[in-house]
Symmetry: C2
């Protein structure tokens, strides 16, 4: 039995730059699939493209409309190939309408001087943190989350609080974290307005950007199938219908794996 | 005499979704024009498009290759128009080759509950900070920068330091800040590796994303032609040829105007 993440990633090439896929019920969100899964599908189209150079450095996904349950066509176009970097534009189309636009940069990396300025905060280890209660959204069952702080409010009473969340997280069904699984994890954080205001207003991510600070070889060396990663997300500004958050994902040992930002529509 | 920013922004529509422009010597960088100017040109193509809905919420610009001095064609395509949001893909083409890809989201904003979680740090006012010394790069003369901390190193000796920069900045030739000028300002920060390592290694931004937390009406109310804004940038991770930074731009009074991130190639 294939892992539910790999089932949802399945894309069948239909021509040079096109592949067909479908939403998968294991990743159902309020409307359509979990956005992180959709981001991973778009990156998968790049990573299985025969012209691929290197591995992902950046990924931006714009959610033009909700992905409907059912089949979709993904286009991944290598727009420009340089000596060590490659630029991609992608889209996801359903019933002739563009639902997602995206861009990615991939690169062949060389070993250079490296340093991490965004250090992982000192927090209690995953083993000492309790798992979050299950939610009714199907995709949330695909992850095991152990909040350190800033979990979903116990009471939806509209009381204001910090928008900072810290959480240990891993795929519920064990699977060694690779770049695609990391791309999906970058969207694992609940909408900051839920945490900030203890209020479940309608929301929808409009644009989502991730930078990858690791590669397949390093992930293979760092990760076991049951390893946790540590995630932190914090809102920066809520203004007239849109808020953004900035987030970081570190390995259990404090290696920064990805930094990610998104801007989200909210209704009030 | 038109302001040098407006001179460089000039785009002449050539068909529904295309316009022609040209690099401007006032914005010359090491190779080609200042990236922030290029980002503003791409956003200008959106903002002057007859089908435009609303104002920018997010902008991602991917630098596929250096923009050459001379003419270019900009395409801005409204891919999807919803009730209050609109999704755009853009590109800049020179001699038949794609040099830039970009995406943007625009929206009609409604007044809602708003809050800023990323507060402006307490720093000395602009009037108490000395202007940075002029540099030989032409575009840097288009801005007046007054570093609070983390200016360019006095000695390029390779000594490691913090990657945090704080700076008061405004257009050198007075011009009231609007959304396009803000989009360009989002790229005003020197490459973090210059500050972090006191080393001028070859660099090039590969992807650049900005979120706008303000609109034209608020900017018009907040800004005078000679107003400063306060910018802060900090690297997050340098790893094997690519680093990212996260940055914020506030008004003099502490209103968060934009949050912006970029990932940059570096050679060593």
């Amino acid at each position: 039995m294939q892992h539910p993440f790999d089932q949802a990633l399945l894309l069948t090439p239909t021509s040079d730059n096109h592949a067909s896929g479908a939403s998968h019920p294991a990743w159902a969100n309020m409307v359509g699939p979990f956005g992180g899964m959709t981001a991973a599908v778009l990156l998968k189209a790049v990573m299985q493209h025969p012209a691929l150079l290197g591995e992902p450095v950046s990924l931006t996904v714009n959610f033009c409309a909700a992905v409907a349950d059912g089949a979709f066509d993904v286009q991944a176009l290598p727009v420009r190939t340089n000596r060590s970097t490659q630029h991609w534009t992608m889209s996801l189309v359903q019933n002739g309408e563009t639902v997602i636009t995206a861009t990615a940069v991939t690169a062949v990396r060389r070993t250079t001087w490296s340093a991490t300025d965004a250090a992982m905060p000192q927090v209690a280890p995953a083993a000492e943190c309790a798992a979050a209660k299950p939610l009714s959204l199907e995709w949330t069952n695909r992850f095991e989350s152990r909040p350190v702080q800033g979990g979903l409010p116990q009471v939806w009473g509209g009381q204001e609080a910090s928008s900072l969340s810290q959480v240990w997280v891993r795929y519920a069904e064990p699977r060694t974290l690779d770049l695609l699984a990391l791309a999906a994890l970058c969207d694992v954080f609940f909408p900051r307005i839920f945490v900030r205001r203890a209020s479940r207003v309608p929301i929808g991510t409009v644009s989502f950007t991730s930078y990858f600070h690791t590669d397949s070889a390093q992930l293979a060396a760092l990760m076991q199938p049951q390893s946790f990663v540590f995630g932190q997300a914090q809102a920066q500004c809520f203004r007239n219908g849109f808020f953004d958050h900035t987030a970081h994902i570190w390995s259990e040992g404090g290696v920064l794996l990805a930094t990610t930002n998104q801007v989200v529509y909210y209704k009030e």
